[in-house]
């Protein structure tokens, strides 16, 4: 009886909620898109990026996925646009763009 949170919403009757509001699952917050909070958007310039990865650990929202030693593009579903990564990049490969679109 693991929890499928897609079946739990603000219209669920009390009998359908999990006991003690416990959650029998992990990482379900992925389904909540904090990207909607963004007003400015970081953009990666692939040519300037040297894959030093100094940007990856400074993201408060785990929005810079790393695979095979290389960072991938931003997770715009969750990026809140704080701009910390911009300052962390020694090569000016990340710039903030006004608005919610990359």
């Amino acid at each position: 009886m693991r929890t499928d949170i897609t079946k739990i919403n603000e219209r669920s009757p009390y009998t359908d909620l999990t006991e003690g509001l416990q959650l029998y699952a992990g990482g379900t917050s992925r389904l909540f898109k904090t990207g909607e909070w963004r007003t400015n958007t970081p953009v990666l310039d692939q040519d300037k990026c040297r894959q030093c990865l100094l940007c990856a650990p400074v993201c408060p929202d785990s929005c810079i996925p790393v695979q095979g030693g290389k960072r991938l593009d931003f997770d715009y579903d969750h990026c809140k646009g704080c701009g910390i990564c911009v300052k962390a990049c020694p090569f000016g490969a990340i710039t903030m763009k006004e608005g919610i679109e990359a």
Partner: protein
């Protein structure tokens, strides 16, 4: 898993004599819970001491946590229970008061922790003796509460605690209460049960979901927006309602094992009684002894001894009072509510009578606060006054104090 249908291993009775604290500790030894965090406070201190001695002598292998306060005792109990361990603790008075916030969390997180409460008055003034203000102060925290008349009932109730609390229909914490010093420190006769049947009766604790379930993460204790919080509270309340039937099922199985039967309350010589006394805890014994004497003198009196206070068996109490056909009921509170009109039972029982359309005179008495002794003579006086009230010779006093200097 409800063990309702299983056949129960019968147990021989072992006649012994011991104090209420010894009796509960003996039951804890038989159950051998996984974890016990506790902090000493009179008069429950002996329980963690005795359990520690069992552990020190290798009689049980419970993990004892010598926490630095009762607040941490209940906090650690919540952590241990959520992690999948059968967990219990013991406390009294200010210790329970310090746990207060955590009591609500144990219940709302639906954790079947067992707490053995040795009832002692709450300060102030500071006093170590018995009344029910500690247990009554926690009556709306979502815990099941069962009260005992003597060491025997404290022992029997404790053995039934885990099967009640851990039942999937319930999953609520449970408080097993007995009167401080009066039963906790008094040596009396008792019929103990054999270890094996008790272990079989209580069974292994096998939660379905818990923090330490490998590969199956669980999250406990969320922030909840209003859209979910009210539903969660209703679900918790529904579990408390279901606890009633489970308490009776477990009592039935317990009777099969021990030959001793329990219900929500005991009706003592209530059939044909003209006057009833509703009372809880050790003083119920004194009331029964008085009833025997008064019956011999030709007075038709009886006692309704409340055992299960949460869930509150409102309907059943009203029906029992109706059944007796009595003229008036003395409702005895070993606790003051400071509401200017009644103690806790003095509020809840008349409300139940009214809701169930049982119209009978009631008088609420406050007795035994902070260890004030309650005697056979007091019971005699109360029944005499009850009779005057019922016969219209006297107006019902407003939650009158017994044994008070005026």
């Amino acid at each position: 898993m409800s063990k309702k249908k299983e056949n129960v291993m019968k147990s021989k009775s072992i006649p012994e004599r011991m104090s209420g604290n010894e009796a509960v500790s003996y039951a804890i030894r038989q159950v051998n819970p996984d974890v016990m965090p506790a902090f000493p406070i009179t008069p429950s201190t002996e329980i963690p001491q005795m359990v520690s001695t069992f552990i020190a002598n290798g009689e049980i292998d419970t993990e004892f946590i010598p926490v630095e306060s009762e607040h941490s005792a209940m906090s650690a109990a919540i952590g241990a229970e959520a992690a999948g361990a059968r967990t219990m603790t013991a406390t009294s008075s200010a210790g329970l008061a310090l746990m207060w916030e955590e009591l609500l969390l144990a219940a709302s997180n639906r954790l079947p922790i067992a707490l053995t409460l040795v009832n002692r008055t709450l300060s102030g003034p500071i006093n170590i003796n018995c009344d029910h203000s500690d247990g009554m102060g926690a009556r709306d925290t979502g815990w099941i509460q069962i009260y005992a008349e003597n060491n025997q009932e404290a022992y029997d109730n404790y053995i039934q605690a885990f099967p009640i609390a851990e039942d999937p229909r319930v999953h609520l914490p449970i408080m097993i209460c007995q009167d401080g010093f009066i039963t906790s420190h008094a040596v009396e006769n008792i019929e103990l049960l054999e270890d094996e049947p008790v272990k079989a009766f209580v069974g292994e604790y096998e939660p379905e979901e818990f923090l330490l379930n490998p590969g199956k993460p669980v999250a406990v204790g969320p922030y909840s927006v209003s859209a979910y919080a009210m539903e969660a509270k209703k679900a918790q309340e529904a579990a408390m309602e279901r606890a009633g039937e489970v308490i009776l099922e477990v009592a039935e199985r317990f009777a099969q094992m021990s030959g001793r039967s329990y219900g929500f309350f005991e009706e003592y010589r209530t059939e044909d009684a003209e006057y009833l006394m509703v009372i809880m805890g050790s003083a119920a014994g004194t009331a029964k002894a008085a009833v025997d004497i008064l019956r011999e003198e030709g007075h038709k009196v009886g006692v309704l001894k409340l055992r299960v206070f949460r869930p509150f068996p409102e309907k059943e109490i009203a029906e029992a009072i109706k059944r007796s056909g009595c003229k008036a009921v003395a409702i005895m509170d070993r606790c003051e509510s400071y509401n200017g009109c009644s103690g806790p039972l003095g509020s809840e029982i008349p409300a139940g009578l009214y809701r169930n359309k049982v119209m009978v005179d009631t008088v609420n008495y406050i007795y035994g606060l902070a260890g004030r002794d309650f005697t056979v003579d007091h019971v005699r006086e109360i029944f005499a006054e009850l009779k005057e009230v019922a016969q219209g010779e006297k107006e019902a006093p407003n939650h009158k104090y017994i044994g008070l200097r005026e």
